[in-house]
Amino acid sequence: MSAVTVFGLCAAAAVGLGLYGLIANPQPLRKIIAFNLLGSGVFLLFGIVGRRGAAAAFGNDPVPQALVITGVVVAFSATALAIALLLRLFQIAGSTTLDGPAPASPPSDPSGG
């Protein structure tokens, strides 16, 4: 079993686990983490395909590498934005539930809105 196969199966499992966590976990922060896990698995699959396409004295195809670097930065920006939204929801509503209306009287002190 080569490195590509081992890591490829690992990446496929990470995608599956991330997808399951995204659907099944009720907490928004856990959904964000699961989404990042899914993305990380997809990036790794890119890297595996690039590793198999290694040619011309490179260990890994530079084109998918460059795309993954761009993807990692974009995923980080999206995560930071999602977390800012979540913290703002918590600040206004006092809870972070996605189900139904938020409680009418927030237990924590909201700083306006």
């Binding site: 590509v4 399951y20 659907i23 011309a56 460059a66 795309l67 990692v72 920006s77 809870s95």
Partner: protein
């Protein structure tokens, strides 16, 4: 089975275990810690896949800064966990498991059945690398051959920071992001915040400079600079700048702005958008990378600091 293969299988097993931990553990804080460890080990996988540029980015941005932003949110939301009682029904969880398992299985089969020899663009990258005067193929792809992606990604960073800032309440609009950090002025954190940044800034600039010919570049260097800045802020030695500050906004648009100007220059005086004149390709790209380094470091730091929460005074 060689030592290297044993190491790879062990690494993959630990990474997989951490991924399962991240999804299955009930406590969110533990899940976050598991995900950070996962991100750092994935950087090792990238090294094993001979993608050192990606490994640097993953360790600095995916594991490092992403971990900090997740940990901060997990700490602030820790008390809400007890309030969240809803759980999906067994049918939902079961169908989610079946769906996820079949997608993972399909991906695994696709990885096992990839065409041989695999399609690759590496020879084209090599044959065109003389046009930019830089030896690092990944930097060539990022800045020249797929420069459009990289420019638009700068715009995504800018949009993300606009989105985060727009979540400020009316009183805090234009103010300083995050809470004022207090730390013992004689403590370890304040000591590190005085000791590390001089070296860290040199390392960040070196990573940018060496990115022309070796693994490295504006993203990795920018992440190092951002972490140095955050260290100083978290130790309470400096405050986050108010977001209404003009110089701050100027730095934020300088990277994508310069990229756009150079791209339009290629359209006006050259064959196409983002086409660099061959004689000036390397200085132009390095100039864009320097502006990008500043923009990336500032944006990443501000994304971590979050929405404005205090007025500027």
């Amino acid at each position: 089975m060689s030592i290297a293969t044993v190491f790879e299988i062990a690494l993959a097993a630990v990474v997989l275990g951490l991924a399962i931990w991240t999804i299955a553990v009930p406590d969110t804080y533990s899940a976050t810690v598991g995900f950070i460890a996962y991100g750092l080990l994935v950087a090792l996988i990238w090294v094993r896949l001979d993608a050192v540029d990606v490994a640097l980015t993953e360790a600095a941005i995916g594991g490092g800064l992403g971990g900090v932003v997740l940990l901060g949110a997990a700490a602030r939301l820790r008390d809400t966990e007890a309030m969240t009682t809803e759980a999906p029904s067994l049918i939902v969880r079961l169908s989610a498991a079946i769906l996820s398992a079949s997608i993972a299985a399909a991906l695994a089969v696709a990885i096992l059945l990839l065409p041989d020899p695999a399609p690759t663009l590496a020879p084209e990258v090599v044959s065109n690398s003389g046009a930019t005067g830089m030896a690092n193929p990944v930097t060539n792809v990022l800045m020249a051959f797929r420069g459009m992606d990289t420019m638009l990604e700068k715009v995504v960073l800018l949009l993300a920071i606009v989105g985060v800032w727009s979540l400020a309440s009316d009183q805090a609009w234009g103010g300083r992001p995050g809470l004022r950090h207090q730390a013992d002025p004689n403590g370890v954190l304040a000591f590190l915040a005085r000791l590390l940044p001089p070296a860290g800034i040199v390392v960040g600039i070196y990573i940018l400079w060496t990115g022309a010919d070796h693994p490295g570049g504006a993203f990795q260097g920018g992440a190092v600079l951002a972490s140095m800045w955050l260290l100083v802020i978290m130790a309470g030695l400096a405050d986050t700048p108010p977001v209404r500050s003009r110089w701050l906004r100027l730095i934020l648009v300088s990277g994508p702005g310069l990229f756009l100007v150079v791209g339009l220059g290629g359209l006006c005086f050259g064959p196409a958008f983002l086409a660099y004149p061959v004689a000036f390709a390397k200085p132009l790209i390095l100039g864009i990378e320097v502006a990008m380094l500043l923009t990336i470091a500032t944006t990443l730091g501000l994304l971590l600091a979050g929405a404005p929460e205090r007025s500027a005074e």
